[in-house]
Amino acid sequence: MEYEAIIGMEVHAQLLTRSKMFCACAADYAAAPPNTRVCPVCLGMPGTLPVINRRAVEFVVMTGLALHCRIADHSRFARKNYHYPDLPKGYQISQYELPLCSDGYLEIEVDGRVKRIGIERVHLEEDTAKLIHTGEHSLIDANRAGVPLMEIVSAPDLRTGEEARQYLTRLRTILRYLGVSSGNMEEGSMRCEVNISLRPAGTDVRGTKVEVKNLNSFRSVKQAIEYETERQRRLLESGERVVQVTMGWDEARGRTVLQRVKESADDYRYFPEPDLPPLELSREWVERIRASLPELPEARRERFVRDYGLSAYDAGVLTADRDVADFFEAVAGLGGDAKGAANWITGEIFRLMNARGLEMSQMPIRPAQLCELMGLIREGVITTTIAKDVLGYMVDTGDSPGAIVQQRGLAQVRDAAALEAVARQVIADNPDAVAQYLAGKEQVLKFLVGQMMRATKGQANPTLAAEILKALLAQGR
């Protein structure tokens, strides 16, 4: 029997507010010593009262609007009760019946077709403390407790690991464009859980759901889903049944591992948070937030195609990261050739970023410098091959391309006499190629020009080199 996987995703993203969700402790705890971003409110000491961070609410509404959600007129917080040492209060303030946003969607592309993935809800809650297990004891750092956390729940519309990976990638791009979350999975500011069940393809049977946690990279999301789908398929095919469990992803071993058997539904006894009055989201407030939205990746992609004549593919690649898109537009705005800039960015600059493990924001290349580099090629000062080397030096030194070309003597050799000497040597060294050329196989000229470029370490002007070769070879006919 053929099975299909029914996959839903829950994404938690820490919000980039300056202070915590319900108190004024600083929200950025990355460099803070343990338990130094803590106060009686986020520890839930008796007699304290939480107060809602207005900016956090606005960030969630921004996200909801970007995901085409319905924004609630009335919304409120709820208490989710459970005991665990990462929860100082003994409950987490979350949302239950009246989330801020619901019923939206995010579009992905499957086999060249647009597929809409439903967003069931986007709500606001608080993060938990960090636990460190030593074996003998558990240690608690409450700096993270109370950091604003947004939960984005998809409908079970995803079918494959690749679809899930793409959904997550696009979601992160949107969050970064909005500036509401860093979306950094490695550092845990964006976390993801998936629910997977299998059913006979084409039916609407409800399979048993398995939850997979501990997914901290895009790759692990895809791999975990593929692994888990296969595991369940084998179980079903051998006549066994899938048990409702929570699994963890073991990145090192590339497999899901049983974390906990769910015998009954979790009993969190949600009730409206008595310490927080409800929220009324007036139309004016929501419209003000809507007006503050930046241009989103989809719109920007379409504009890049329209205004700069880029292919949909290139426009998609450039707009996937807001910093990259900004860099491209800065180059184009300086009068740089837009298509050329797109090629340089998606080619050499991405290659250098990968090789050195740098993000666009960490690259020392300024838009004006890429313009200058492209200018040097256009004016024939350097060849494209040399320009690639120059770009590497630019990343290493932060120097301008003009300065690098001068310091390192990389300008093209346009001296006809010098090139003629090189051409004679190439002709002498490659009698077979010369014979082929003379026999009428003219494309061999490219090979000979290549040899000249090699002999001059890429500094020969290729057009001039070809002309000189042709002239010399014509004499030999």
Partner: protein, 95 residues
């Protein structure tokens, strides 16, 4: 509908309370009386009355996103059962 003993035990488990048999029975009766009262409220005709979650008619009580100083760590740790290297120490949690 009075609560069953099993329900009381379930609630105690969720609240991490260890109850004696005598306490279970006492709380069973007390909690049942509270639920009975809630049952009475359930029977009221409330058609056309909007649901409410809070007794005080406040909305949109928010604060600006401005950080301020946190508490001194010594004060925080003074309330902890135990601590080590600035971290609160508790019994091991089995994952």
């Amino acid at each position: 509908m009075p609560l069953s003993l099993q329900q009381v035990e379930h609630i105690a488990e969720l609240a991490k309370l260890a109850l004696t048999d005598e306490e279970k029975e006492r709380y069973r009766l007390q909690l049942s009386a509270i639920l009975e009262y809630a049952d009475m409220l359930q029977r009221l005709d409330l058609d056309g009355v909007p649901p409410m979650s809070h007794a005080v008619a406040l909305t949109n009580i928010t604060r600006p996103d401005e950080p301020a100083a946190s508490s001194p760590r010594d004060e925080i740790l003074a309330n902890a059962p135990d601590h080590k290297d600035g971290l609160i120490r508790v019994r091991p949690i089995l994952e």
